[in-house]
């Protein structure tokens, strides 16, 4: 261990990162420059500092040259700070005697001018070298990890993650905002490319979730507050009133039969409005749990207060409670897996395709229900009038995807599900099917083979984006039909194809409440609004907030196999964290010098993490290190200069600034 009186001996290393840095920044010149800066004993450039030989270089110099401070100029600290701190520690030095300079994301990746880049790199290096001299030895604190896990969202990803965690013996809280788990998969008829029945493979998993002794399932519930930190999250879950005592309802549906409304009157969410439901309803026959829900927006009792309440009278188990209020449950968990899914692109936004204007324009999700044996038409493909069988059907790919006007990204699943729907529609209706595609994207096991199969089934494929769907008949035959106009790019002609039914293969978008969820769990989103993974390749299910993992379509468009795989990965990451038993907390926390604290409590209001408390006896404030995230707000707010922050002490910051500003 070194102390401040000891001579400062700095080792400086600059990384070429192959061509990433080396092609823009003259690394040897920076090393040469740094060698002349105060206290620098060793200054070297190396092709890959993060490699084993690179780390070895640092360790060898620490041992042989007696270095006691290390600076590495390379990539973002997010990527390799732990690597170099580790190397520093391995040679016997406290890891916080290390400082990193990011000359990749901040210099070589964003600048083209080599001369100016060299100047900027030198400036940043000089600042770090001035700073590191003031670094102090710090220790990381170890905190135990609560082994319980919260999983948010009960689609296939949430179900898979829950079962994996529960099977590993962990206690799982699964929170779902709808009245049933199952998500979008429960609405599908068959799954590609194997064409196995979605319900047959999903419903056993749904009931496993319900029966599992390690899983607490809360449907019709939402997470309302999150506090704490990795290993020790405190979560409030709000159970919305479903006006049914869940533990008493057995799903006999007597109440639904006896509802004042003799027929269903309100759009059935499960069937995307293709059928009607009553105010008291079971979302679908296999809903899990088998508990009905009362929709207070349509229920006569809530709207007028003058309902005879025949539903309640029909219930011989007295499960009704019209006075239910939202109930808040507080739980403690160590890790969280977010599987909050996606939102389908709203077809009306593509105004040129006439959804909502022409009744026989359907969305792909509506068609999933139409071809489903338990759907509103019992699997018969019928037009919106409920009786006409279509003789020709056009399927339009990329609706709301790969489009500058709406969403730029490829939604990844639409080509395959369009092929699946083409197969099912042909099978169920015998109609002529036309697929309009931009590019056919079928990478995946058995996917290209499925496309091949469709080509041989006599489905028509037209390569070109559809410009419009309208009812502009130019011959008497075309009257009453929908006209699809598209450029067929393979024959170089504009084609007009009259059809009876149009299917819009809508893309995937971030869920409606993705931003709220993101803020609540303090994670990031990529530009388009999907949750951002910690690293696109090497940490695909982690986030920048430790202990919060993501899986499934909340991270980006994904099909069922990928969602399940990610759910497994997220569960494994959570298990690794739990089974390691503890987490190490970064020591860059704030600390209040008691003698200087005047007890004004300004800092308490400033702290976004509720990490500061006031001791009324001592009349002093103090920081809970476990809750402090090291944002520095309290430090800046303290009028008595009584708060300092480890790794960001005044002399460290001033010296860094000084280093930056001097020539």
């Amino acid at each position: 261990m070194t102390n401040q009186k000891e001579e400062i001996r700095i080792g400086f290393y600059i990384c070429h990162c192959g061509h990433n840095i080396g092609s823009i920044v003259d690394c040897p010149a920076v090393a040469e420059y740094a060698s002349k800066l105060p206290h620098v004993v060793v200054s070297k450039d190396y092709k890959y500092m993060c490699s084993d030989p690179g780390q070895e270089l640092i360790q060898k110099d620490i041992r042989e040259q007696g270095l006691n401070r290390i600076v590495v100029a390379s990539c973002s600290p997010l990527l390799h700070e732990p690597t170099f701190r580790g190397a520093t520690a391995k040679a016997g030095l406290n890891e916080f005697y290390f400082q990193m300079v990011n000359i990749r994301e901040n210099v070589s990746w964003v600048h083209e001018d080599k001369d100016l880049s060299l100047i900027k790199a030198k400036d940043l290096v000089r600042a770090a070298i001035h700073r590191v001299a003031y670094h102090k030895a710090l220790e990381k604190k170890k905190v135990p990890v609560n082994p319980d896990v919260l999983i948010v969202g009960g689609g296939i990803a949430g179900i898979s993650a829950s079962l994996t965690m529960a099977n590993a013996g962990k206690k799982v809280y699964l929170v779902e905002k709808d009245a049933t788990i199952g998500g979008y998969m429960a609405k599908f008829d068959k799954t590609f490319p194997t064409l196995d029945c979605a319900a047959c493979i999903l419903t056993p998993k749904m009931s496993s979730v319900l029966k599992h002794p390690n899983i607490t399932l809360w449907t019709w519930s939402e997470v309302s507050e999150v506090s704490g930190f990795v290993g020790n999250y405190k979560v409030k879950v709000t159970k919305k009133p479903r006006y049914i005592k869940e533990e008493l309802c057995v799903g006999c549906l007597a109440c639904v039969e006896q509802c004042t409304f003799k027929e269903g009157k309100f759009p059935d969410e499960f069937n995307f409005g293709l059928s009607k439901r009553k105010p008291v309803y079971m979302p679908f026959p296999q809903a899990t749990p088998q508990v009905v829900v009362v929709d207070d927006k349509t229920c006569l009792h809530f709207k007028t207060g003058k309902c005879p309440q025949t539903c309640m009278k029909a219930c011989d188990r007295n499960a009704f409670d019209f006075n239910q209020k939202p109930e808040v449950v507080e739980i403690n968990v160590g890790t969280v897996i977010l599987t909050t899914g996606f939102k389908p692109f709203e077809a009306k936004r593509a105004t040129n395709y006439g959804y909502g204007k022409y009744p026989n324009v359907f969305t792909s999700l509506e068609v999933e229900r139409l071809v489903n044996a338990s759907g509103p038409t019992e699997g018969h493909v019928l037009l919106r009038d409920g009786k006409t069988h279509p003789k020709s059907i056009g399927i339009i790919h990329c609706v709301g995807s790969r489009d500058d006007k709406t969403n730029k990204w490829c939604s990844k699943v639409c080509c395959m599900y369009s092929l699946k729907l083409a197969h099912l529609l042909k099978e169920h209706s015998g109609a002529e099917i036309y697929n309009f595609y931009i590019d056919m994207r079928t990478p995946g096991k058995g996917y290209e083979e499925f496309y091949d199969k469709l080509l041989n089934e006599g489905v028509q494929f037209i390569r070109g984006r559809v410009s419009e769907v309208n009812d502009w008949a130019t011959t008497p035959d075309e009257k009453g039909k929908l006209i699809i106009r598209a450029e067929d790019t393979l024959i170089g002609r504009v084609r007009r194809i009259p059809v009876d039914m149009v299917v819009l293969s809508v893309g995937l978008e971030p869920a409606e409440d993705a931003q709220d969820v993101r803020k609540m769990f303090n994670i990031s989103c990529s530009n388009e609004g999907f949750f951002l993974e910690r690293h696109p390749k090497l940490a695909p299910v982690s986030t920048f907030t430790d202990g919060i993992f993501i899986a499934g379509a909340c991270q980006g468009p994904k099909d069922i196999p990928d969602s399940v795989a990610q759910a497994g990965a997220a569960a494994a990451e959570a298990l690794a964290l739990i089974d390691s038993g503890h987490v190490e907390l970064e020591p860059n926390t704030a600390c209040i010098i008691e003698d200087r604290c005047c007890g004004c409590q300004v800092c308490i209001n400033m702290c976004p993490y509720k990490a500061i408390t006031f001791d009324p006896d001592k009349k002093k404030s103090s920081v809970n290190e476990a809750l402090c995230k090291g944002c520095g707000t309290c430090v800046a707010s303290c009028g008595s200069n009584a708060i300092f922050q480890n790794l960001f002490e005044d002399e460290e910051i001033m010296s860094e600034l000084n280093g930056l500003l001097i020539e």
Binding site: A350, T351, N352, G354, K357, E468, N470, W472
Partner: protein, 286 residues
């Protein structure tokens, strides 16, 4: 609020009926207009394709004049003018090189150009600023039996569409409904009127107009309304020729939307330029 007004060449010549009806309608709605001084071409002619940079500077001069006059919103009724001015504003806003060039050019003739004028179309102003309720309140003539198709043409919504849906525009239909007439929906709202092809490639030009006129009649429309002088000209002026060429009667009145508003407001026919139209609208005017 007062709007600055850029008429453009058409509204002073072939499209005089548009200007007359527009001014009359705005007057009865109490919307003050002020024509900008010494305006020049909007760029709809071929000089845009010869030297785009100079063309942009020339068009921007109109915006600079409006700025100097101290207004915030400049109204351009002709679809081509609206597109040209919107395009110029957009280019100057998004391309630093163009901005530099335009600013320098305008400086030479004494303008400190800041590109802060909003370019507005009367449809935008009427629907979004004035509101359909106010329009409704001015209606004096019962038009409930009148079936109207709105024809927007291309330039109002393409490539820029600052105030209406690019692929299924609605503002003109909203006005038709506010006037108490029946707005007939059709998918050809923005289909090409052939531009100048009625004179240069007349076979193609007349065929394109035939398709539009035929479909409007097919849908039972009594009239077509438009917001573009060139669309109005193409659709109205060749009806006799088209009818005989294609052996089908496609005669139908083609008016400016402001003329329909004037009719609904009960304004004198002469004030809204009805005497300039080729096909009279007997059902309403008599």
């Amino acid at each position: 609020m007062e709007y600055l007004y850029y008429p453009g060449c058409s509204l002073k010549s072939s499209g005089r009926a548009f200007e007359e009806s527009l001014l009359a309608v705005f007057k009865s709605l109490n919307i003050p207009l002020k024509e900008i001084e010494d305006w020049n071409c909007c760029g709809a002619t071929s000089y845009m394709s010869i030297n785009e940079c100079n063309a942009i500077s020339l068009i921007a001069r109109n915006l600079a004049i409006a700025e100097k006059m101290g207004g915030t919103d400049l109204m351009a009724p002709c679809a081509a003018c609206f597109m040209g001015l919107t395009k110029t504003k957009n280019y100057v806003e998004t391309n630093p090189k163009i901005r530099e060039n335009v600013t320098a050019d305008l400086k030479k003739i004494g303008f400190e150009f800041e590109n802060k004028i909003n370019v507005r179309h009367p449809l935008d102003i009427l629907v979004n600023d004035i509101g359909t309720d106010k329009i409704k309140s001015q209606v004096k003539t019962n038009l409930k039996d009148l079936k109207v198709v709105s024809y927007y043409g291309c330039q109002l919504v393409r490539p820029f569409s600052p105030f209406d849906d690019q692929r299924d525009p609605q503002t003109m239909d909203q006005i038709v409904k506010a006037l108490g007439a029946q707005a007939i929906d059709w998918p050809l709202k923005t289909r090409c009127c052939s531009g100048t092809m009625t004179s240069t490639l007349s076979d193609i030009g007349t065929r394109m107009n035939f398709l539009l006129l035929k479909e409007a009649k097919e849908r039972g429309a009594d009239m077509i309304i438009t917001a573009c002088p060139l669309c109005q000209f193409n659709l109205e002026c060749f009806q006799g020729k088209i009818s005989s060429k294609f052996g089908e009667d496609v005669k139908i009145p083609v008016y400016y939307f402001t003329q329909l508003m004037g009719l609904a407001f009960g304004l004198p026919k002469k004030e809204i330029g009805l005497h300039r139209m080729l096909s009279p609208l007997y059902s309403v005017t008599n």
